[in-house]
Symmetry: C2
């Protein structure tokens, strides 16, 4: 049985990925500031990963062959420009150094589609981002921190003999998403019988159910593919389409206020080229948008009153 | 008077830059593992910068408004692929974080022309590297570590309000260069009356006297230019031309063996576009190649017997 350290195991993507890793027979050692009871980890290690000594202690104790590093600053609305992105980049390097010193064999880091250039000139009118051909000139500190860390670890792992991949995660949604984010906020408002105010929502994104996202990351960990791999469906949907779908499934189209909020200056279209994920890693998503949103609405319907917005 | 912390102050480029900063009226606080007597620093701090606690202690003690970070792994022949490049990238982030916490205002990091793509398709037949238009896809771990660190610090400094620049240093030569490197090894062999064996030496590089290099970095520190700035002359010379010049000046052309060593697989041509350094920073080199080499030979002539190869 392979043993794996998963940082950020208690997070939105972490929770789904831990389940998928357990399904694949991994002994999961979750790392979190506060362990969470209902996650299928074999063991928990409490650590502040920004402290290199704490990170190193966890790695030495766990003696894992595999490492999945999902932890990062993710405070909603703030993480794009959070100065802590630098500390997370630095902490990620420390963690990788500690992991190889402890005899680690394979590591996957959670990257982001924010590592790509989102401007339409760089990405092209299709909006399809390919791991090899689409430029990676991020527009944000978050994107640069993820991209620079990936560049560093890719070049370094080749020298030290570590098998290393970066998961370029697109737009996961589903159970346990932060309540103030788009899908939860629309679903929760409509479930409460309140108006859901969103922007005109013309921007097109690659939304992936978090269970599919977790399954894809687990498969990437479990295989031998190195370098960057998109974690997305290849299907683009506009934010307005998603909001309308939620409203239709909840039969509350009357409460949806498209255009009530001013649109932020965002890229018109960003969609994953899923070829490498399909052919190299060998996974395809289980949910299409409608089945995924339906499952998510059901979950929020059962949990909305229990989870307060942050 | 501005106070500046200079890491790597006892190194080849550090020593020349400290002198130039002192000329500009800076109170220089040198950081080194071992202080060096004959360098014009106001104060020395001994620290292992790879330990974040030691780096932070130095920064807190010095209370400097300026930071020049030159320290890095530079072991001859080994630094290109040295795994310690990751540790230096990480340590550089820690240092920058500590500096801004201690109230720092302006920081310059020593980058490298190795951050550019050196393949002729990317850089073009002219071999001229421009800060904006030439792609930065390094071929080495050293290049990636420098480039990723620059990307990170550039994006981060914009968020935290730090004035930040990266000095893309080309090929400094002159007094105190590591004896086993090209110029010193040729000069020392010929001075000793021994044959100097080099490759065919067709590769063209931008060689800059270290005094000009130090003066350019000091001017960059002292000004307000942010982002990347080439530290080079704009003049390309082949390695063979340099070797022949040394032999001619020493009147020992008989001992020069061009082609005696096999050529390594290197880029044919890499030369700095010096426009930004000239116009933005406002400095031009004092030495041309012949006067610079002459001065260097004189120095080696006086020091060759005192300095053993490493």
């Amino acid at each position: 049985m392979n043993r794996i350290i998963v940082t950020g195991a208690s997070g939105f993507v972490g929770r789904a990925t831990v389940a998928a890793l357990a399904d694949r027979g991994y002994e999961v050692h979750g790392v979190a500031r506060t362990p969470v009871d209902d996650i299928r980890a074999h063991a928990w290690h409490t650590a502040n990963l920004l402290d290199p000594a704490e990170a190193s202690a966890v790695v030495r104790t766990a003696e894992a062959s595999h490492l999945l590093h999902l932890a990062w600053t993710t405070a909603h609305g703030r993480y794009w420009s959070d100065p802590a992105n630098l500390a997370w980049a630095r902490a990620t390097c420390s963690l990788a150094e500690a992991f190889i010193e402890a005899g680690g064999v394979r590591a996957v880091m959670s990257g982001s589609c924010a590592q790509y250039s989102w401007d339409s000139e760089a990405i092209g009118p299709s909006g399809i981002a390919n791991e090899t051909s689409t430029p990676r000139r991020p527009a944000t500190l978050y994107g640069w921190a993820k991209q620079a860390t990936a560049e560093l670890l890719e070049a370094w792992s080749a020298q030290v003999g570590l098998s290393y991949a970066t998961a370029l995660v697109f737009f996961p949604y589903g159970p346990f998403e932060q309540p103030e984010r788009l899908l939860p906020s629309v679903a929760r408002s409509l479930l409460a019988g309140e108006a859901a105010e969103v922007s005109v929502g013309t921007q097109v994104r690659d939304f992936m159910h978090v269970e599919d996202c977790g399954a894809a990351i687990a498969a990437l960990v479990d295989g031998g593919v190195t370098g960057a791999v998109n974690i997305g469906t290849g299907q683009g949907s506009s934010v307005a389409d998603v909001a309308r779908l939620i409203a239709r499934l909840l039969e509350r189209e009357d409460l949806l206020r498209l255009g009530a909020r001013s649109a932020t200056d965002e890229a018109p279209k960003i969609v994953a080229d899923p070829t490498r994920l399909h052919n190299g890693v060998g996974v395809t998503p289980k949910y299409d948008l409608e089945s995924g949103i339906r499952e998510t609405i059901d979950w929020w319907s059962a949990h909305a009153t229990k989870i307060a917005p942050g």
